[in-house]
Amino acid sequence: MTPDRITPTGTAFAAILGKDLRAELRTLQSLPAMGLFAVTTFVIFRFGLDRTTLSGSLAAGVLWATLLFAALLGVNRLFVAEREQGGFDAIRLAPIDRSALFAAKAAALLAYLIVLELIVVPIFALFFLDSAAALGPLAAVLLLADLGIAATGTLISSMAVHSRARDLLGPLVLLPLLVPLMIAATGASEPLLALGGPGYHRFGTWLAVLGLYDLVFLLVGYAVFDFLLED
């Protein structure tokens, strides 16, 4: 094949991402489930912890544990259509750079997570927080953490979907991988959600850790993703 007949990666990326978002909008397979799961988990924490308001480390822990587990639901479904309806074969046949698939799937997961958080984090604030003052700076933490979850989630999900116990394997491998991300995200959120207004203790450092995590796993994903599509 001559190089000029390869579809530009940008076009392929946009096509796959557009397909994914359209499919999600029409079937609503992942997002409503993730949202419902998150809100129900808040209610469970309300009774599990027997608290009506949360602040500081407890608030950060509840928020991030919930978001992480809700994200796992989306991660599990990310490649199911590709596997069951021959999408992987189509990608293999298409004259495109394979990393376009990784980038598009990670972008789709990122979009799901952002939409999820746009709905669920205000509900969290409404349920548990005294004021919404922390939500502004919290958005930066959320965005950086989402990027990391999207990178590792896409990588693990693309492998887990080929396994026998795919719903089991994804969370099993992904959770320990996400521990450093969880540490940094809760570390940054804890002072933000503290009683008496948001604080910024070591805020920049934690954001830098999150950024480093994103960078490392986006690069790893980009480097190894080709090997996952060979057959």
Partner: protein, 240 residues
């Protein structure tokens, strides 16, 4: 071919281990603060270092496997990670004993190195179910290598994050770097480290030799059209 040099290597390991233990009990001075229990340091820390380096070495073999496509590198990677997980169990147990003796608790969340190690260990423990869940052997090897590379990148990142999460109120109680050690302790520690590393290498070579022998046996049986025994393990790569 894997058995080459195994005998001298085993002898060197035994000698180094014996020398290390002799130094620990008869040469290294008692620690002024912690007394006798501090001697577990000569076992715990070399095990931890060997185990972590072994994980990273497994990742390097995985890169070789992905680049060359030769299955023997997958076997090297698998055995490296396998041995490091076993060493990891010993690290967690000796760490627990040390924590119990010096703090009175079996588990101490304030020790960042031990906590980081637990997280790394949990991640690598999923390597087995991960391999087990993928049936096609070729794909299994490829995915396992991707796992090993990803996890190898994870190890330093995780140590950094956990170290930073410790509030500054808790000083680090043990200096795991050699900075504060007197010469006799440092010498003992280095001998123990070398002995543990030798032990790791010997065991890795031994396991590869065993795998290679059973692989050859299987091929011979197949050539003679005799009964081929069912594979003992579905997750270990076959070695030629």
């Amino acid at each position: 071919m894997y058995s080459q040099g195994l005998r001298p290597l085993s002898i060197a390991t035994v000698v180094a281990l014996a020398a290390g233990l002799a130094l620990v009990f008869f040469y290294a001075p008692l620690d002024a603060d912690q007394g006798f229990i501090q001697k577990i340091f000569y076992l715990h820390v070399p095990l931890a270092i060997t185990s972590l380096v072994g994980f990273v070495v497994g990742g390097v073999f995985a890169v070789l496997h992905l680049r060359s496509g030769e299955r023997r590198w997958d076997a090297w990677s698998y055995v490296s990670i396998h041995m490091s997980v076993i060493f990891g169990v010993a690290v967690l147990i000796t760490g627990s004993i040390w924590a119990k003796a010096s703090w009175g608790h079996w588990w101490v969340w304030e020790e960042p190195t031990l906590v980081s190690f637990l997280i790394v260990f949990l991640l690598y423990a999923t390597y087995y179910p991960f391999r087990y869940a993928i049936e096609d052997p070729e794909r299994q090897g490829r995915y396992a290598s991707v796992f090993a590379v990803t996890a190898g990148a994870f190890v330093p990142l995780n140590f950094m994050a956990v170290r930073m999460a410790q509030s500054l109120v808790h000083p680090r109680v043990f200096a795991t770097t050699n900075g504060g050690l007197p010469g006799s302790m440092l010498l003992t520690f280095l001998v123990c480290l070398a002995a543990t590393a030798l032990l790791w290498i010997t065991l890795v070579k031994l396991e590869l030799t065993a795998k290679s022998a059973s692989g050859q046996l299987k091929r011979l049986r197949r050539a003679l059209e005799g009964p081929v025994p069912r594979a003992g393990s579905r997750i270990a790569p076959e070695v030629s």
